[in-house]
Symmetry: C2
């Protein structure tokens, strides 16, 4: 089972790519971004659209147009990007919205799962795009590679 969906992964790449272009403070075209990050152009369009709806990026149409981050790097968390693509973080349906599970009162698992979910949100909310963009690669997993 995968928790992060493939599209979420693409979205993260795109955001990191965007972050790295931020210094030029001009708009970056989706086409360039998609190429750099090895994401299908069409799919990138769709994802950028979602990120735009969530106000994480600002768009600019026409030739020379493209996207730009709408906030500072340190103000965008990993959690936000994830939730834009795959909805609110939820370990179980029961926890998604109060009263969703009629067994809530007798469920012994709910408490533990709820606690874990809280911790996950906290962790992911604490990682900023700034950190991600600064990190050149997964050096800490060296040796684990092919």
């Amino acid at each position: 089972m995968d928790i992060l969906r493939r599209n979420t992964d693409y979205a993260l790449r795109l955001m990191v790519g965007l972050a790295r272009h931020q210094e030029n403070n001009g708009s970056v075209s989706t086409r360039l971004l998609a190429e750099e990050q090895e994401v299908s152009y069409q799919l990138a369009c769709k994802l950028m659209q979602q990120l735009h709806d969530a106000r994480l990026v600002a768009s600019c149409m026409g030739p020379k147009g493209g996207f730009r981050l709408s906030r500072r790097l340190a103000e965008i968390s990993l959690l936000e990007i994830i939730e834009v693509v795959q909805g609110p973080l939820s370990l179980n349906r029961c926890l998604a919205k109060a009263g969703a599970c009629p067994r809530a009162g007798v469920c012994p698992v709910r408490g533990k799962i709820g606690e874990l979910q809280g911790r996950m949100g906290e962790y992911l909310g604490g990682v900023t795009l700034e950190e991600l963009a600064a990190n050149p690669g997964a050096k800490e997993t060296a040796g684990e590679r092919t």
Copy 2:
């Protein structure tokens, strides 16, 4: 997005139900278990089968037959049950098996995600069926109910 699948939820219920019958130290029929835990009988069969394949429960056929936990309550973790139903815990495909992602070397997200995955496994591995069975209900979420 849900991380715990519906079937996983059912499996957890069934295991907790089984745990609560453990005192009688006789086998419990799937039919009874399914009724008690409000899971479709057929579906319960399927899940018990998976739990059996994973050696978490022992089976006994024929009339008066049924299932029984094959280990002590404290020796079965939440993580084990989850992984039986939905496979190894994996936040992302990249992490499922080494070398699965050709971008591993340049991926800035991988490290963070890997760390979170480790923490999750640790947490879930630490919760035992004993704890769950003892916990009568989600008292800690009182007020959040319907």
